[in-house]
């Protein structure tokens, strides 16, 4: 991948992310806070972005969204796919509970 391609891909991902975030915020603001893991103020901001603003923000060499899983425990639960197919459901549910419990990031 050339650096030009990389920039294009990043812009694409950023734009998709911003558009989805805005749609979610407009459909149900409160649930969007949970889905996106963002705070009230950020949500207001994203909710009112114009397409032109989005285009501008999306350009750049860094991604606007980041991983919400920041520890090995949840990663291991999420990636146990295949290892024990039978217990997949349990591991994913466990991961969901752990992730839903993290509201510090948004507050």
């Amino acid at each position: 991948m050339t650096s030009e391609q990389i920039l294009a891909e990043i812009r694409e991902a950023n734009l998709s992310y911003l558009m989805l975030a805005q749609t979610l915020i407009r459909i149900d603001r409160d649930q969007a806070l949970f889905r996106l893991g963002i705070g009230e103020e950020t949500a207001s901001l994203i909710g009112t972005l114009t397409p032109a603003q989005m285009m501008k923000i999306a350009g750049g060499n860094t991604l606007l969204c980041r991983f919400r899983v920041d520890d090995d425990l949840v990663w291991n639960l999420l990636t146990s796919h295949g290892k024990g197919a039978a217990n997949d459901g349990v591991a994913r549910l466990h991961a969901s509970i752990l992730m839903a419990g993290r509201h510090q990031e948004a507050a």
């Binding site: 409160d30 009230e40 146990s80 217990n87 459901g89 948004a106 507050a107």
Partner: protein, 193 residues
């Protein structure tokens, strides 16, 4: 006599309809809206096309302590707490929105929603009046529904250490657990230390 606002009433009807669609019992609607019993009954029949179930609501906290219900209840309550922290909503709306997110999450994982909206509502009430609470698991740090007197230092959740008979049921959409789950969590833990 209190002036009845039509707007408020419209909001309440909308709320009641959402709750009926989610499968709430009539007692939930009675407690969460100011609409009369007769109107609620009519609304219920109109929306769901049948008469509401009769009888007492489940009132015991024990159900929430059994293995699978506890996992479902804990997922719901974590979502509920999340919304409680980040969004400013009326209490019943927090329950509705959290329950919708719970249904979504459970459905996405191909499981049956064990927790009914009535039970979810009940759970929030139990937590409000101190009959149930959330305790962090000593191993994974996740918050799970427990009795209030649980000793936090020793508490381990049902997912880190499933009880002997857990996950042996053959019900469709139920969690299945075979040998190896302990190892999976063990592996996850090992990488932490």
């Amino acid at each position: 006599m209190r002036q009845k606002s039509i707007l408020t009433e419209a909001r309440q009807i909308e709320r009641a309809v959402t709750l009926i669609h989610l499968g709430a019992r009539l007692q939930v609607l009675e407690s969460e809206t100011d609409l009369s019993y007769e109107r609620l009954l009519r609304l219920y029949k109109e929306v769901s096309g049948r008469s509401p179930s009769k009888g007492q609501l489940p009132f015991s906290t024990d159900w929430f302590m059994t293995w699978q219900p506890n996992i479902h209840a804990s997922l719901f309550l974590n979502i509920h707490e999340y919304l409680n922290k980040v969004a400013e909503l009326d209490e019943i709306d927090t329950v509705i929105k959290a329950y919708q997110l719970y249904l979504e999450q459970i459905g996405a994982q191909g499981l049956e929603p064990l927790l009914s909206v009535t039970r979810a509502w009940r759970l929030v009430k139990f937590v409000d009046n101190g009959m149930l609470t959330m305790t962090p698991c000593r191993k994974c740090g996740g918050h799970f529904v427990t009795h209030p007197h649980e000793i936090a230092r020793n508490y381990v959740c049902g997912l880190c250490e499933p009880p002997a008979r857990a996950g042996k049921g053959r019900m469709a959409g139920a969690l299945q657990l075979r040998q190896g789950q302990d190892e999976a969590v063990g592996r996850a833990m090992a990488t932490l230390s």
